[in-house]
Symmetry: C2
Subunit: 346 residues, 2 copies
Amino acid sequence: MARKNATIYDIAKLAKTSTATVSRVLSNSGYPVKEELRQRVLEAAKKLNYTPNLLGRQLKTKETRDIAVIIPNISNPFYPSIVLGVEDAAREKGYNVLLCDSYRNPQLEIAYLNSMAKKQVRGIIISSISQNQRFLKELVSRGFNIVAFDQNVTFPCNRISFDYVKGGFLATEHLIKLGHKKIAFISAPLTRASRKGVFEGYLKALKHYKLDVNKELILINDKEQEINNEIYEYENGIELVKRFLKIKDMPTAIFAVNDMTAIGVIQGLKSFGVKVPDDVSVVGFDNIFISEMIEPPLTTIEQPKYEMGKLAATLLIDRLQNEGDKKYIEINMSPTLIIRKSTKPL
Amino acid sequence: MARKNATIYDIAKLAKTSTATVSRVLSNSGYPVKEELRQRVLEAAKKLNYTPNLLGRQLKTKETRDIAVIIPNISNPFYPSIVLGVEDAAREKGYNVLLCDSYRNPQLEIAYLNSMAKKQVRGIIISSISQNQRFLKELVSRGFNIVAFDQNVTFPCNRISFDYVKGGFLATEHLIKLGHKKIAFISAPLTRASRKGVFEGYLKALKHYKLDVNKELILINDKEQEINNEIYEYENGIELVKRFLKIKDMPTAIFAVNDMTAIGVIQGLKSFGVKVPDDVSVVGFDNIFISEMIEPPLTTIEQPKYEMGKLAATLLIDRLQNEGDKKYIEINMSPTLIIRKSTKPL
DNA sequence: GTGAAAGCGCTAACAC
DNA sequence: GTGTTAGCGCTTTCAC
């Protein structure tokens, strides 16, 4: 990127020594070099404004210091914290991170995976889409260092998982303990592991507390999410509220599959003059930071996003030490209930 | 990352040809190779499950396909769209992007800059902090390919700029045209070019429409933002509302320096029973996506974030063609007023 | 302690 | 059209 970079060869010449020695001092190899010579090298490097070219080193050592993170879309408010966690952990270990937005597009995702392989990244953290399971699996079996999260992978693999079912259970249980008996579930289509898990938790809680599962209260849109529309979940919430309001003997609570949906739900409710939480309690899922900035602040399930990102990167980089190791590690993260103002006793 | 990757040498052996030929067909050099041989090479490559090692090529050609984007914090809702724009443009041109969060920390920012240089990235898109102007300037003068945005740089440099003053003017003008005469300005300290510009626009509009500049209405916190607290602006909005409410003969409108602050302002106002927009009109700045999801949806100034990111990357990569070119390019983006429900005629 | 030299995987003269 | 070969910038044996 700069003009004509100085190389260790230039430094060697200037310091009247060999490239071997220069390399030894400049790469902090710990290899013994006489202090006086070392100083000469350092000075020469400074004089020449030397910037090491990592490409040379990496080609030789076959070890880059890059990892990639592949996510659906960084402008979905769920992902920035994760990516930040990844980056922080990576930086601590001297790694850089390549950002890849897949837009949930199978071809794009595969293209990125291939591209990252060519770049010799040391590993990949990925929230993949289910269609690519076979491809991913093959990569893993070929020895690629991969950590999956935010999805269900059907094959052995390092992963950071999250207990969606328990989260769904906690949310529903909270409403039940508040005295609610008719609790609606509002969601986009259950096309993802996360949504399925949350729904399962909802059912489980109802069963556990011996409440009827009423099909009428399960409002799941069958229209699939448009690609690249971060606002879809929100609009979906608004839309399904209309169906909700048509239910005779209106439920007193709503559990939305995620915060974006819940925010839409609250907005929709308000627009029809229905008060939250006075008329209807609402709980969300994810605890994206917006949820405490809306009115009323949203009761929701915390998913430790930053920590998950950090753990994913830490796990990934730690695995590098024992490359051949066939044992895969799974770290399971737990949900917590965050009670704010959108729910209240019946 | 995989075990023992096949190299062009292996392919040459298998296809009974030379590495030169293999390279020619595999790198799509356009160099003529007989069809039959080409097929043999392709087959061999496939059979060996060949993945090119970009490090080799890049070391040879001295051209990586990487760019870096350095921003304060990806979890600040202002940046994801920008980064997405950068990535999309980069991908279209065959580039990958390295993400660097500087946390507005001068040392970290410089460390990243250095680190990226070592990695031989082709260029850097940066929202820098003012303390590092000298360092940045030197990089630029050393021939580094840099595009700055979201800041005021005091030296010649490629940049994507945004007319904050005009934005501030538009927002204030909107309020004035609605009949408001007492318009408060609420902001975090004017330590950044953007905030300064917005404030200047506010003053300019008042002057232009011959309204008094009343110091009492200018509510600027002097507490500096805590590092790494994306919620600070929001809380700042809430806090300053208290001062706002103490103003005798309360103003009928508030212009907040950005959306996060505005959302805090609205929240604060509500908590004191003040209605928006019935009692007080509020306008924000930035048009982050949350602003249309709050109640009432926020009137604000649109900053074309995605486009700015995309343009920055396009500009950066285009500049690569004429490396030596000393002419720097500045692209100025214009604000637009987005009228929603948080403002109304007096 | 130090240096000569090989070589990581690739491209690009250059020769044929 | 094809092959030989030098070399990108670096690390690392190996010999001294």
